[in-house]
């Protein structure tokens, strides 16, 4: 039995929340917020595997800008978290803008349950890949920076360490770690 993933759902319509919870039974555990304003200020997204995001959260919002702003906010906290937008029929322009801002997918309302499950699974897999990718690339960046600093200092460890803002022993430890 595969383990449940955790989904962050931001949606103001309680009936939609209920429907999504039920449709994702056995697939994902859903934590729902009615309004992005209700999100805790020190929100940690590490425990979530994907986010499902409505575009408008109040009846006087129709242009989707609240949803787009929320994408920006979630991306600034954790750029690796995959975001799936929930959009209503006819909102193609908004969907395109959402994808440009970094959402990974969108789901048209009304949705079919199997399409919802598929979108959540794809988003979860993407989040996992991006988190792994982010970790790997941080290593690669460090290695690249050290190689470049050494080349500029023409092999002089002291100068390279100064350029990198490190002590000599610290640089030695990293050179060893990266097998340079």
């Amino acid at each position: 039995m595969e383990s449940l993933c955790r989904i962050l759902l931001i949606e103001d319509d309680a009936a939609v929340v209920q429907a999504i919870r039920l449709a994702l039974r056995g697939v994902a555990e859903v934590e729902a917020f009615a309004d992005p304003a209700a999100l805790p200020t020190s929100l940690s997204l590490e425990s979530f595997d994907a986010a499902l995001l409505d575009m408008n959260f109040r009846p006087d919002q129709r242009d989707g800008s609240a949803g787009l702003d929320t994408i920006d906010r979630l991306r600034s906290i954790d750029p690796a978290l995959a975001i799936v937008m929930l959009t209503v029929f006819g909102g193609v322009a908004i969907a395109v803008e959402a994808l440009k801002r970094g959402a990974s997918d969108f789901l048209l309302k009304p949705w079919r349950n199997d399409r919802l499950v598929e979108a959540v699974r794809t988003a979860t897999a993407l989040t996992t890949r991006q988190r792994a990718g982010a970790a790997m690339s941080l290593e690669a960046i460090e290695r690249h920076a050290i190689v470049r600093a050494l080349a500029r200092a023409e092999g002089n460890i002291s100068r390279a360490a100064a350029a990198l803002g490190l002590t000599r022993p610290a640089l030695y430890r990293r050179i060893e770690k990266h097998g340079l």
Binding site: D13, A15, Q18, A19, R58, P59, F89, K109, R112, L116
Partner: protein
Amino acid sequence: MVFSSLRHWPFAAGLAARGLVVGCLIAGGAALALTGRPTLGVIAWVLALAVMIALVRAARRAERAMRELVDQLASGADDRPEPLSPAFADLDAAIARAIGTMRARETRQGAQADADTALLDTVPAALFVIDSDGGVVRSNRAARALAPAMPARFADHPAFVRDAAAALLASGPDGGHMLRLADGRAAHVSVTLFDLADGTRRRLIAVQRVSEGLGAVETDAWHRLSHVLAHEMMNSLSPVVSLAESLVTLADDPAADPDRSETAAAAATIARRAQHLMGFVERYRELLTIPQPEPAPVELAPFMEELARLARRFDQRVDVRATTEPPQGAATIDRELIEQALLNLLKNAIEAARDHVRPAVAFRCHSDGDGLSFTVDDNGKGLPLNADDIFLPFYTTKSEGAGIGLAIARQIAIAHGGSLTAQRMTEGSRFLLHVPTPRL
């Protein structure tokens, strides 16, 4: 007076002098003849005759010059008439002034005619002026654009079906009806009859293609309405579709929901949404069935007070003030319909003002020659960006709103031949309901 008679002295004095000379010569000749010098007398009379002929010729010359001048004015020739002899300098100057004034008036009239033509050409409706024999006397640009060449007779116009053209020529004054043009497109036509100063009768036929004016506006309105409808319906339906699918899955696997609580909750939500959608359709029907207004005299001040009293019940905290101008005014309106429209506006204004520290709604009625103007001002946060959308049915910015209050109010205004508009104010917004009605 003395001065002005003196100004004519050259010609008049000439005539008088000649007359005097003729008189003197005749009298002198007679005296000479009686005193036994007949030869000298005859000579004097011959001289008198000669001066008389000169006098007559001078008078005839003046008369001919005047006749030529008048002939030239009558023929409408543009060059200035030849100056008269110096003896008529004053007359000449007066004539020059008269001609100048006439020219200026002609220029003004010409400019006015050009402006009228330009104005007629900007009218999108095709206009034809027809004489009593059915000939086209005048037409504007839109009329000329209807056919490659304007026929001499309206009955031969290719844009009109022959029977329709004949009916337009035979009908009395017609406030307007729809007809089909020869190319199958719909047009709105009206006929006006008027008499010229000389008693001849003219017929003005105005034709406006519908697809190019009203059609575009209506299409746009329907487009926007169907967009709102689709949006609201899809929003309402999306949980229903998903929940129904989930219920099917749950029915296949009773162990997944042993106490049936999930199943019951899902079914309850589906039922609620179905009710909501039904209410939606019922409100739509309500919107389509606004009755024809039945106007009756209404005393305005008590009417306004009553409405304000009802409106205060929506929210006690909001300060609702009603004013009627003039206070003793009365008007013929459909009381129930206008009341419904104004209550919708007042409810809207009160809900808009509610969040203000000192919420206030000013409710005014002003009657004038044009009709009745009701304004409802609130000090709320103002209109949304796309302000005209608020009149679309089912468009709402409120969580509990049905979205048809303003749409109904506008429909009622239109049914009265009036209008309902919204405008942004420095603080809050204003709704203006105007109804044309004769004052009592």
